[in-house]
Symmetry: C7
Subunit: 77 residues, 7 copies
């Protein structure tokens, strides 16, 4: 059911500890568990995987600190 | 009838819970229900769909937090 | 007759409710009625139309909230 | 004779009401009468003309509000 | 085991003195020991190596001060 | 002899009224007399000349107000 | 031996008066003696040389004020 979020970043807060898909500005997709975030949308992603066009795993990145400025969108999966 | 909005972001406020089309700087179009926004134009979009050139659904994205800096325009549909 | 404007944004204030042409950084032209603006040059445009190179209507966009950062110039028409 | 300007923006102040050539970051040239400016180098240009490579008039733009961030340089003509 | 970090930059703090992999926005990879960082994600990397596509060492860079704005992600290795 | 400057902008201050070469981010070179500058590195250049690859004069620009954000480096000549 | 720097900019402070290699965002390399820096990483480089791909001197630039925003990394040599 649709719930009206109060602030966009509430989505990140609710997603903590869960899998998210991150679409980057350069078109790449990264998937992993979101462990923390800050006001710049910098994210720590655990078990991060770089995906290929078909959604398969292209590379395992481990734990990464991703700069928010590179993000197009974040989506809980 | 044309109503003089007081502030551009009033358009987002009125559109909460409704379908919008978002044209990105990279030319892509995303459609979905706007659930929240902030002063950076970061948006939470529910039932987000990536559209192809003809307006058909290219991919279902679910709920996304879209960074405002990637947006060209937002339009209620 | 040439009138010395006090501030560039006075042009937007005078144009409220009137047709403007907006040239975007990506080269696209959008035309419509300007309904509101803010200090970032974010604009609400009513009856927005995307124009082709010859000035004809390529697509009707309806009411849009255009992010100011994408704008090259705005011109009353 | 060379006069030491105190601040770069003094050049704009002195040029008010006069013709200037504006070279944009995208390489385009615009010429017209500068009517106002602000701290972001946003300019209102009256009788603005887009010039072609040879300096001829490619298009008449009328009065425009040009976003400062697009400017490479401004030169009184 | 997954530990919930309080702030994304805690990852950098924990990684001080250890090897990290840095993916740049331009696609290049740099590996080395992180010695310091600041709020802009500027990093001092000791024994920095530029990697080729296969992960081999393309060039030895020594100690570098890397501007944070160029970073896509940082990952402890 | 090498003198330790206290602040990078001291170089601009010392160069006032003298010829400088300016390399732009887009690769173009401009040469002329620096008349003023501000904290954004906006410069007024008198007798500005656009140079071709070989260092010859490609175009005479007169007096220009150059936006600092376009600059790669400035060098006294 | 590895020393834990307290702040990334300490590296610039220690390098004052010494040769550094600067890798620019556009891929170019500049080498010279660092004479001053500020919080934006703007640098004055004395005896600056533009290097070719093989590390040879492509052009002598003299003393330059380099805008920090163009820098990828700085490395003492």
């Amino acid at each position: 059911m649709a719930t009206m979020h109060e602030r966009p970043f509430d989505l990140l807060n609710k997603a903590l500890g869960q899998q998210v898909l991150i679409r980057l500005k350069n078109g790449d997709d990264i998937r992993g568990k979101i462990m923390s975030f800050d006001v710049h949308m910098n994210l720590v992603i655990e078990g991060a995987e770089e995906l290929d066009e078909g959604g398969g795993v292209k590379a395992k990145l481990g734990t990464i600190l991703l700069r928010g400025g590179n993000i197009l969108f974040v989506s809980p999966v």
